[in-house]
Amino acid sequence: MRSEYPRFVLAVVPTCHGFSFVLFEGPDAPFDWGTKDIREKDKNPRTLDAVRAIMERYRPEVLVLEDAAHGSRRTLRIRRLFRMLSHLAVTLDIPVIRYTRKDIRACFVSVGATTKYEIAKAIAIQIPAFTHRLPPIRKIWMSEDPRQSLFDAAALGIAYYGRQAGESVP
C-alpha cells in the first residue's frame, strides 16, 4: 500500500469556547474543518488533546498559528495555549508558522478585504465549502459569531499558501 498522505497544512485558532481548525490539502481545497467546544474550566489540556489527535491522524506538513507575541490582545490562557501547541508541534516534528493579524490583512488586501468580515467573505468566495457557514456582519453590540473562528483559521491557511507562492491571495 502506498502510505504517503497528501501534504496537509493545519491551521488552528483557539477561541474562548474551544478552537477551530482547517486542514488544507491545497489553497482552495480544505480536507477537513471544524469548530470544537471544550466545556471544561481548564480548557487547554483538552484542546491540546484534540489538536494532537488531529495532528496524529493527518500528519500535517506544517502547523499555522496566529502570532500572539507582537501586539496581540489575546488572553493569558490563549497565549499559554499557543505555546503548548507550538511545543506539541515540535515534539511531533511539525514546523510551526505564525502570522500576525497584520500579515493576514496584507494577504487579503489585493481582493479589497481588510476587516475580519470582508476576509471571511473573500474566503467564502474562494472556498465554496465555507459559503453556507459565513456569519452575518457583526454589529458593535454583538459578540463574535462562533463561525467566525473557522474563517480565521482558513485565513491563516490561505495566508500560508499565499506566502509560499509569494503572492497576496493565491
Binding site: M1, R2, D28, P30, W33, R59
Partner: protein, 119 residues
Amino acid sequence: MRSNPPLNYVRTLRRRWALTQKELAALVGIESRSGISRIEQGERLPSLEAALALEVLFGVAPNTMFPHAYAETEEAVMVVAAGIHDGSIHSTNPREKRKCALLEDALARATRPAGIASV
C-alpha cells in the same frame, strides 16, 4: 507515531455540500448514520452499490474518493499482472500476446489517482 487509517474524501464532500451523515446515509442507501461515520473514519469500505451511489451524488469516481483503497487494490492486481506478464512475454501465441498488451496497458496506467484538489 501509530499508523494512520486510510483517508477518503467522503467526509470532505459531505461537509462541502452541507449534508448530515443521516441525510447522506439515506441518499446512498446505507441504513444508519453510523455506517457513514465508519466509512468516513476509514473503518470500513462502502458496498459497491453505496460507492456507485456516492459517485452518482458527488460526481467523483470511487478511485478518487477512496485513494488508499484504490492504491491497495491496484498494487495487488499489479503484482499478479506483472507475474502473468513475465510468464507470457516471450510467447508467440496471439492470445498470449493479446493478454500481454492488456497487462502492459494496465501496468502503464498504474499510478496514484489525483486527489479532489486537482479534480
